[in-house]
């Protein structure tokens, strides 16, 4: 049959159904009439003829049904019928429908939200040409040290890069990027006023062609641009172009001053590309201009300056493992060729870990990938609970409908048709739930991003086609799964029993019980996880960090970039401290290298005077450069000796204060005061510092990690650049009498008064610094609590549903019990006991499961063991109480059963 006429038939059968049906009705009736007429002619009376005709033609309705079945689109017709019926059933039980749809929507929504976040952070690939061939020289290109200290190489010198580039067999091409981001002070040439801060990334000239990118405007770098003698060129990131130049094409060719050097804007990177690194730069600059940008001697000439990250593109058909083996052989060759560097032992343990780079390198990915996967697992458990819940609801309802179903079976409904009908109902629920779930996901994904990364994050968790497919698949699968079980069960009903009326009790609902037990156990696992995260947060926030974080403001400065020489700094620091201490409300002011809880740390080996060279202890210390009264400003007590003071200036004997950890580790048996040590090895009497004080331990770069041995040398005693102590203070610290947050503009002004070319940036309080550190733990606690609460809520709905249903089924039995003299309290206990039994079994299953599951998050905890008995007990009690609350209403209802009504029920 041609498609067109098939469509016509379909259209008529579905949409002109009433008319076709009336027509059919007329036709069959006329047949019957004609037949009757025939019989009359054969001699029967009119009445007899009609009867005979009716018998001969069979039931009119039957005939019509047969015709309908034969029509095109009969299945669609019955589907619509099923849908109408299902919608009517749901409308008749709005409470059931609402609970089921809401439950599903929460579960599906939570999953879709997590999935889109996981997708944005972990699964998305870089928008570059064939990203699957990219590899990074180390998947974790940051940390405190690269190379010989740990053996793990993630940063390289220009000489290393050249060696890899010229001796490689596995790679089509290599390119280099400056590790980390450069802080740029940018100003359009000729413009007056203050400079703007921007983030810059130095890249080798082949960077853009290596990635196969085309410019959004102008042109991108070539290797020509990456030569010191070339004219300085810059490529803008698309969003920066929009923001700063209002995507004006005439920006191309414009000259901008970056840290004092004039660069010409040559082009704009493609819109979708935002770098391969873990931060998004605003401006890309060629590596050759590193001295101009970073205001240092050229790193490219120093084989000991490890400043480059390397990305490579694998040749076709070369495996990552092969490339890895090759690269590690080359690394050893490089290290051997450059004899000045490592010992044979250090070379032996040196390695590079290649990492697939299709997704780019992401700090966020590294930090959150595992957490997100755990979260995904949690969301999966929640979805399971959801499915169990809806299955339970449908199951109990289909049991309640046993009578209806067996009547329908008895009057001839096909079993297949009945299953189809029940499936349609559950599918309808899931579709509603899925639709609502998408809405929840849209809102939830964004909320999650904000929760995890703060607002204004580069991550966009958006709802895309894949997520829609994911959601639809989950909801349909759920619909089929939990629609099928009750449907199969229901249609297997013994025809006669339910019609006669049911009064059976007992534990017929093995499946329902199992589902409730599963829900309780799963929520227990999630609650314990959440409890452990909360305890971690509590321990972290509640610990004494060793310093007094109240009333301290921090501001960042960069004298090196502003052009100060080391010799000029003591006067600068002094002036700054004097000016700041003159501000009203300021008690002390000081300077430091990085200060507490900063990502930037500085560590070194050292040699103690008079100590044998070869020692079992690896003399390694974190160092800090501090101004006068540093410990007073931070509120760290001095245990022995004295604080660094103003007198420890240029010309005075070099002094240092060490912390208790260092005193304990290296001066366990002796009084450290008066002892001398020098940084580096061997002991250097010229640079040696005398210990003048021991400060109490205080948290340094992390609130979690053990406090390392530390030494604090005096910033005012500036040694010459060649010394191990060389460094610039980059932090101004102020202790205030009152609210520290109101002082930022005064501090900014004071710094500007002292040195006009030295901007004070990133001003925050020490308390904010602490909170930033707690943030990830806070996130973990918030997220896991949210999910656990969701799981608990769902489990309660499940428990309530089961108990309520059971009570309604047992109304009859309860009535009899009461007639026979059962007290209301007995009835209450009867219901509560069942509920308690379910909860007890759920806990019994859940506790071992939780013991196994919490091992996964053990590394994320602080100050609390994964098997923390307090958390386990607390959560179990909480669950028990909430479960009791859930079955209180059904138990109440059971208690209020009127025996007379209950008995008349049959």
């Amino acid at each position: 049959m041609p498609t067109l006429s098939r469509m016509k038939n379909l259209f008529r059968n579905i949409f002109a159904k009433q008319r076709t049906d009336r027509d059919l009705d007329d036709e069959v009736r006329s047949y019957s009439d004609l037949l009757a007429q025939e019989k009359t002619r054969a001699g029967l009376s009119a009445e007899q003829a009609r009867r005979a005709a009716r018998i001969e033609s069979g039931g009119i309705e039957q005939v019509k049904e047969n015709v309908r079945e034969a029509r095109t689109g009969a299945w669609l017709d019955s589907l619509l019928q099923d849908l109408r019926y299902a919608a009517r059933m749901l409308r008749k039980n709005p409470g059931f429908a609402a609970i089921a749809i809401l439950t599903l929507a929460l579960g599906i929504g939570a999953n879709a939200a997590i999935f889109s976040l996981l997708d944005a952070v972990v699964l998305k690939t870089l928008p570059v040409a064939s990203p699957e061939g990219l590899v990074f020289f180390s998947g974790r290109p940051w940390g405190t040290s690269s190379g010989s200290q740990t053996g793990h190489w993630w940063a390289f010198s220009s000489q290393d890069f050249a060696y890899f580039r010229d001796h490689n067999e596995s790679f089509k091409e290599l390119c280099a990027i400056r590790s980390g981001t450069d802080q740029l002070e940018m100003r359009v040439a000729g413009a007056s006023g203050p400079t703007d801060s921007a983030r810059g990334s130095l890249v080798s000239g082949n960077f853009f062609s290596f990635l196969g990118l085309n410019p959004a405007a102008g042109r991108l770098f070539t290797t020509e641009d990456d030569r010191p003698q070339s004219s300085p060129a810059a490529v803008l990131n698309y969003p920066y172009w929009i923001r700063k130049f209002r995507n004006d094409p005439s920006a191309i060719g414009q000259v901008i001053e970056i840290n004092g050097t004039a660069f010409t804007i040559i082009g704009v990177a493609p819109q979708e590309f935002s770098g391969v690194g873990y931060t998004t730069p605003d401006i890309w600059l060629p590596l050759a201009f590193q001295p101009q940008v970073e205001l240092t001697a050229p790193y490219s000439e120093d084989p000991q300056e490890y400043w480059l990250n390397i990305i490579a593109r694998l040749k076709p058909r070369v495996r990552l493992r092969q490339a890895q083996a090759g690269v590690n052989i080359q690394l050893k060759q490089v290290l051997l060729a450059q004899t000045h560097r490592e010992t044979a032992e250090q070379i032996e343990k040196s390695y590079i870990e290649l990492a697939p780079g299709a997704g780019g390198i992401s700090y966020l990915r590294y930090t959150y990938a595992q957490a997100l996967q755990i979260l995904m697992a949690i969301a999966g458990i929640v979805l399971l609970i959801v499915c169990a819940n809806v299955a339970n609801l449908l199951l109990s309802r289909s049991s309640a409908r046993e009578r209806e179903i067996s009547i329908r079976l008895a009057i001839g409904a096909g079993r297949g048709r009945l299953i189809r009908q029940l499936l349609t109902e559950s599918m309808l629920l899931t579709i509603f739930g899925g639709a609502l779930g998408i809405l929840i996901a849209r809102w939830g994904a964004q909320a999650l991003v904000v929760l995890v990364t703060g607002s204004g994050s580069a991550i966009k968790a958006s709802i895309d086609a894949r997520m829609l497919i994911f959601t639809t698949a989950v909801s349909l699968l759920a619909g089929i799964l939990f629609g099928l079980v009750p449907a199969l069960r229901a249609s297997r009903v013994d025809l006669s029993t339910p019609i006669k009326g049911s009064s059976h009790t007992g534990l017929r609902f093995g499946l329902a019980n199992g589902l409730v037990i599963f829900q309780i156990a799963a929520s227990l696992v999630l609650l314990i996880g959440a409890g452990l995260f909360l305890r971690t947060l509590q321990k972290l926030a509640g610990q004494d960090p060793g310093f007094d974080e109240d009333h301290v403001v921090l501001a960042r400065i960069d004298p090196q970039r502003a052009g100060y020489t080391p010799e000029q700094t003591p006067a600068l620091y002094r002036a700054l401290i004097e000016r700041l201490e003159a501000l009203p409300g300021v008690r002390f002011a000081t300077v430091a290298y990085s200060g507490p809880l900063d990502d930037d740390t500085w560590s070194s080996n050292f040699s103690i005077e008079g100590m044998p060279e070869k020692t079992r202890l690896s003399p390694h210390v974190y160092k800090e450069l501090v101004g006068p009264n540093y410990f007073g400003t931070q509120g760290i007590p001095i245990v022995f000796g004295r604080d660094i003071g103003l007198q420890d200036g240029p010309g005075a004997p070099l002094v240092t204060v060490i912390n208790e950890a260092m005193a304990k580790k290296f001066f366990a048996d002796v009084n450290p005061i008066g002892r001398r040590f020098s940084l580096g090895s061997p002991f250097n009497s010229q640079e040696a510092m005398t210990i003048v004080g021991v400060a109490a331990n205080a948290r340094y770069y992390s609130l979690r990690e053990e406090i390392p041995p530390m030494e604090f040398c005096a910033a005012l005693q500036v040694p010459d650049e060649a010394s191990h102590n060389a460094g610039f203070a980059r932090l101004v610290e102020v202790r205030t009498a009152g609210d520290p947050s109101v002082l930022s503009s005064e501090i900014r002004g004071a710094v500007a008064q002292v040195a006009g070319n030295l901007p004070a940036t990133r001003i925050n309080t020490l308390r904010q610094q602490v909170q930033a550190q707690l943030k990830q733990n806070l996130d973990a606690a918030k997220l896991s609590t949210a999910f656990a609460a969701l799981a608990l809520l769902l489990a309660c709905i499940g428990l309530y549903g089961t108990m309520a249903y059971r009570v309604s089924r047992r109304t009859n039995e309860i009535g009899i019990r009461m007639t026979l003299g059962a007290q209301r309290a007995n009835v209450f206990w009867l219901v509560t006991r069942e509920c308690l039994l379910l909860v007890a079994i759920g806990l019994g299953v859940g506790v071992p499961a939780a013991l196994a599951a919490t091992r996964v998050i053990a590394s994320q905890l602080f100050g609390v063991r994964a098997t923390d008995p307090l958390t386990f007990a607390g959560v179990a009690i909480l669950l028990l109480l909430v479960a009791l609350a859930a079955c209180y209403i059904p138990a109440q209802r059971a208690m209020r059963v009127d025996p007379m009504v209950a008995l008349r029920y049959e």
């Binding site: 006329s30 047949y31 033609s57 015709v67």
Partner: protein
């Protein structure tokens, strides 16, 4: 009498209906009686199978229907062959000839 509900005869029923309409248009009861007459009473087609077949064949485009007056002034729905229906009748007839010949031969062979 052969039951008209035999599955094997599904195609046969279509063929019989087409055949009965080969000469003139007819209403449902007429078709039923005509088939009885053609097969000398071997086939008795009941409305339960007749009407689904008629509607199906109409959807296939082999028949068209219209309301008309019966021989004694009763309203009745008349069916008439279309060109496609006539073609279908021809091909069904040929096919049936082949099948019945083949079956007859098979049964004759020992």
């Amino acid at each position: 009498m052969i039951s008209d509900r035999t599955d094997l005869l599904q195609g046969t029923l279509d063929m019989m209906i087409l055949k009965s309409l080969a000469l003139d248009q007819m209403h449902g009861l007429g078709i039923s009686r005509r088939i009885e007459q053609l097969t000398k009473g071997t086939f008795q087609v009941k409305p339960g199978s007749l009407f689904p077949a008629l509607h199906r064949m109409e959807e296939e485009g082999w028949l068209v229907s219209s309301w008309g007056e019966s021989e004694n002034n009763r309203r009745a729905k008349y069916y008439r062959l279309t060109r496609a229906g006539r073609r279908q009748l021809n091909s069904e007839t040929q096919r049936w000839g082949r099948i019945s010949l083949a079956i007859a031969r098979a049964l004759e062979a020992s």
